[in-house]
Structures are given as structure tokens and as C-alpha cells.
Amino acid sequence: MVATAPPAGTGLAVSGLAVNYGAVPALRGVSLRVPAGSVVAVLGANGAGKSTLLRAISGTLRFHRGAIGGGKVSWSGTRLSGLAAPAVVARGVTQVPEGRRVFARMTVEENLRAGGLGGGRRSAAAREEVLALFPVLAERAHQRAGLLSGGEQQMLAIGRALMARPSMLLLDEPTLGLAPLMAARIAETVKEINARGTSVLLIEQNVAMALSLASYAYVLEVGEVALEGPTAELAAGDEVRRRYLGVGDPAAERPLDGSAGRRTLGRWRA
């Protein structure tokens, strides 16, 4: 895929974004672009600021006592930064939160309805599409969402977000804690969603998967963009492989038993 910068005005543009939690800076001058119709990945270690980035876009920073300190976010030319979450949804940008966060006490069906509340009127059609994408949700329609397994919950969370018929989907670690097969299912789903014309900003720990899905990727490190480029280049480059794929890292290859230097813990005798 081509990774040239898209013309301004289409897609998502983040420029010089700075976010603070109280006095603590979490993002410093982050700029990135998600061209309309593309999948872009953001990678980074725990605490790099990936979720913070999504919160800044979706307008949920205030729930974490965070605030935008500078820069701006815009979608198709309209400014998103400063808007409250429902207003962002109304402009077609929807986020699937980290850790799924389904409404545990409501049924699957009701979760889906909740997802459709902020969006347009055609929720019946949206529902059809979501259930076609995730047939298991139809089977479990009347079960309480809190009692679904992790993967089922993740599907519900994505399905729920799709109920708003977004043109831009923000996904925060959708494969967190999912079985390999399920992670692959989710990856397929992301592709399918994208194929239907929705742009996707994907945050992942599963770097290999992220690189295979996205056309362009950014790597965040302690609140700043440390690396960016077309995924094909990144995947080939040593730096990403070593830092995030655990490939080529001697530690990963180290035999687990009998390693030298590791602290040991003896039994406790009382």
C-alpha cells in the first residue's frame, strides 16, 4: 500500500498533541495521520501513551482527569479536540475502549442497542450487519454481557461500536487476552470492517498482527512518536523486530531453566 500523506481535510489528523494528567505529561507533541479508508497502527510499550492518544481523540480524557495541553485533532477537516465524547461519536468517530468494558449487567442485545443510541436512525440495519459479522452475539442475545468470555466480550465491544455506523473506528488493544484463534478472528474482522469503508486506528501489543493489518504504523515511546513508517518497512527493519517482536532478543531465547544471574527464591521455613 502507498503511505504518502493524504490530502488535508480527509481522514484523521493529529498534530502536535500534548496531554497531561494533572501535572504529569503523558503525550508530548504527537502528530499522526489516518488517511480515510486506511488502517493505521500505533505501537508502543505499556504506558507509552497509546490509550491516552485515543482518549484525546474520543473526548474521554476528562474521565481520567486528563486534559489536552496543546495541539489539535481533526477529522475530515472539522476539529475534534475540545469536543465531548458524544459529539465526537456524532461526527462518526467511535472508540472501542481498552479492556472491552461491556455493560456487564445488561444483555448482549441491550449492549448493542446502547451502541446505537448516539448514532443515526438506521440502527436496525446496523444491527443486522453486526450480527452477520459476529453470529455468536445473536446466539447470546439475551445473556448478560458480563457473563460472556473475554473473546465474546471483545466481539460485543466491537459490535457495539459498529452500531453507531462509524466512519472511523478507534480500536484499543482488541486482542488483549484473546486466544490465538480468537485474535485471528478479530484481525479478520478488522480487515472486513475496513473493507466496508471504515478507517481504523489500531492500537496493539500484538505487533505482528498489527503490522499485518495496517498500512502505516507509528511507534510511541514515553509520549512521543519514536518511529513511523509504512508497515512493510517497519516489519523488515531490525529495530522494530528487536524492540517489539522479541525476535532476535537474546533474553527471549534464553533457556528458562538454569539461567545465570536470575534471582532465586528459597522456601520459607517458619
Binding site: G59, T60, T94, P97, R101, F103, E110, A114, L147
Partner: protein, 296 residues
């Protein structure tokens, strides 16, 4: 037998009023997970306005204004306090509502002073004879109103977008916001609805068999606590069931207190609480409440 029927009917009808009050707790609890201890003062506020206005505007207009005003007081509490303290825990917010209750009740009782205010309702002191059983007309109206309102809310919670938005917000405000739900509106509307319900309940608490609204009216609201909780704090059906159980228990225990002398005098007041304790022992989340099922 006649006495029994009469007591039962009385219990059911006063129970309907308790159910209306309990419904107010339930609405707020469902929307914000906050137990609203200020409900009694909302009730007093609504009743007070109706009583003050009715000589000027006539009963129906006064009732409308009173209901609207109580709704705005509820909304104002949400807007000024609950919304701003969103970060706090629910227990803390519940205690904050105790603070609200203290302030409002003190000011309202000061305003009411020592008067007994009539609400000027059209039913007056008339009674209806059903066979040999007599019952105040106001109580029948209360029963009908409560049943209708409760049914309405039951359906609303289950089937309307408003109901779903409310429950979603209660559970996880941030995620609800991500769904495009306007949290401010949801919680504001819940408090407004609770205020309106409180005003309606105040009306029925202060009409005929009771002499009118006075400073102690809000104390009656305390009986709605066992009603709300024995039904299950998050259940509309529970509010109805709880209200009726409390009303009937109270009426029967007071009516038969001479036969129950060994339990001590005035057992009618304690009975609702005893029933509540017994039910909670068997079902810690109340009769219809959802049991917390945690997954780890």
C-alpha cells in the same frame, strides 16, 4: 373479616404511595448507582409548593407546577452536586445526599414553620363503600396512579433508548459516553423524574386520611427505604412489591396491635423493618434485585 379487608385495602393503598416514593429511589439508583437519601426532602419540596400555590392557582395548576418544581430541584441537585462529584464513590455520594437532605429539610421545615398546609385536592374527605368496606377516595386514586406510573417506568427502562442509556450510564459512564450517550442529560433526567415522582407521592401522603403537609411529612418517606430495598434497589417491580409489603404489614400490625400486645405497643412502625431484615437474610439483594455476580 370486614376489618381485615379494610385494613388490607388500606395497606395496599398506602403501600402504593410508598411504592411511588421507592420508585424515585430506584430511578436514581439505576441511573447513577447512588442511593438518594435526599429523596425525603424532594418530597417535602414538592408538597410544599403544591400547598402554597393551590390557594392562588387552584389545585391542578398547583400540582403541575409543584411536580415541575420538584423535578427542577432534583435536576438542580444533580447539576450542582452529583455531576461535579462524579469522581467520588457511590457510598460517598450517598452520604453527600444526606448533606443535601439536611440542608433542604431544615430550610423547608423552617418555611413551613408550624403550619399544617392543606393541598386542596378535589377528593376531599370522601370515602368509597365497597360492600361493607370503606376506603378513602384519595387512596384509590393513589393506587391507580402508582400502578400506572410504575408500569410506565417498567416498560421505559426495558424498552426505550432512555432506559438503556440510563442503565448503561449507571454501569460505566465513560463507556456510555463513548457510545454517544449524553451523560449529563441522562443523569439530569433521572433526578428530575425522581423529583417529579416525589411530588406526586407527597400529594398522596398529605391528602385526606392525613390532615395535610407539615414539617413531619418527610418522615413518612423513611418507610420507603425498607420498601425500596426489600424489593431490590434496582428493580421497578421491586419498588411496587416492596411498597405494598410495607404498607400492608404496617396497616395490619397497627390494626391488630391489641391482639399483638406481646410484641409491644406501636409495633406497626417497626414491622416494615422487621420484614425487611427477614427478607434480606434470605435474599441479600432484595426480592427482585439483581444479585451482584462478579467475574474474576
Amino acid at each position: 373479616m370486614i376489618t381485615f379487608l379494610e385494613l388490607l385495602l388500606n395497606g395496599i393503598s398506602i403501600g402504593a404511595v410508598y411504592a411511588l416514593i421507592a420508585l424515585g429511589f430506584v430511578v436514581i439508583f439505576k441511573a447513577t448507582e447512588v442511593v438518594n437519601f435526599a429523596h425525603a426532602s424532594l418530597l417535602l419540596a414538592g408538597g410544599y409548593l403544591v400547598a402554597r400555590l393551590q390557594p392562588v392557582t387552584g389545585f391542578w395548576a398547583a400540582l403541575l407546577i409543584g411536580v415541575a418544581a420538584a423535578a427542577s430541584v432534583g435536576a438542580l441537585i444533580e447539576f450542582l452536586i452529583i455531576r461535579r462529584a462524579r469522581a467520588g464513590s457511590h457510598t460517598l455520594l450517598a452520604i453527600a445526599t444526606i448533606g443535601v437532605d439536611i440542608v433542604l429539610t431544615t430550610e423547608l421545615t423552617r418555611q413551613i414553620g408550624t403550619e399544617i398546609l392543606a393541598l386542596g385536592d378535589p377528593w376531599g374527605g370522601s370515602v368509597v363503600h365497597l360492600g361493607q368496606v370503606t376506603i378513602a377516595e384519595t387512596r384509590l386514586v393513589a393506587l391507580g396512579t402508582a400502578a400506572a406510573l410504575i408500569a410506565l417506568f417498567l416498560l421505559a427502562f426495558k424498552f426505550t433508548g432512555w432506559g438503556i442509556a440510563m442503565r448503561a450510564t449507571a454501569e460505566d459512564a465513560e463507556t456510555a459516553a463513548l457510545m454517544g450517550i449524553r451523560l449529563g442529560r441522562v443523569s439530569l433526567s433521572a433526578w428530575a423524574v425522581a423529583g417529579a415522582l416525589a411530588a406526586v407521592a407527597a400529594l398522596f401522603l398529605c391528602v385526606f386520611p392525613t390532615p395535610g403537609l407539615d414539617r413531619s411529612t418527610s418522615l413518612a418517606a423513611i418507610k420507603a427505604f425498607p420498601a425500596a430495598i426489600l424489593g431490590g434497589l434496582d428493580s421497578t417491580t421491586g419498588a411496587l412489591a416492596g411498597g405494598l409489603i410495607v404498607g400492608v404489614t404496617e396497616a395490619l400490625m397497627s390494626g391488630y396491635q391489641n391482639q399483638l400486645a406481646f410484641l409491644g405497643r406501636g409495633v406497626g412502625d417497626v414491622a416494615p423493618f422487621l420484614v425487611m431484615v427477614v427478607i434480606l437474610l434470605a435474599r441479600p439483594a432484595g426480592l427482585f434485585g439483581t444479585r451482584e455476580t462478579a467475574r474474576v
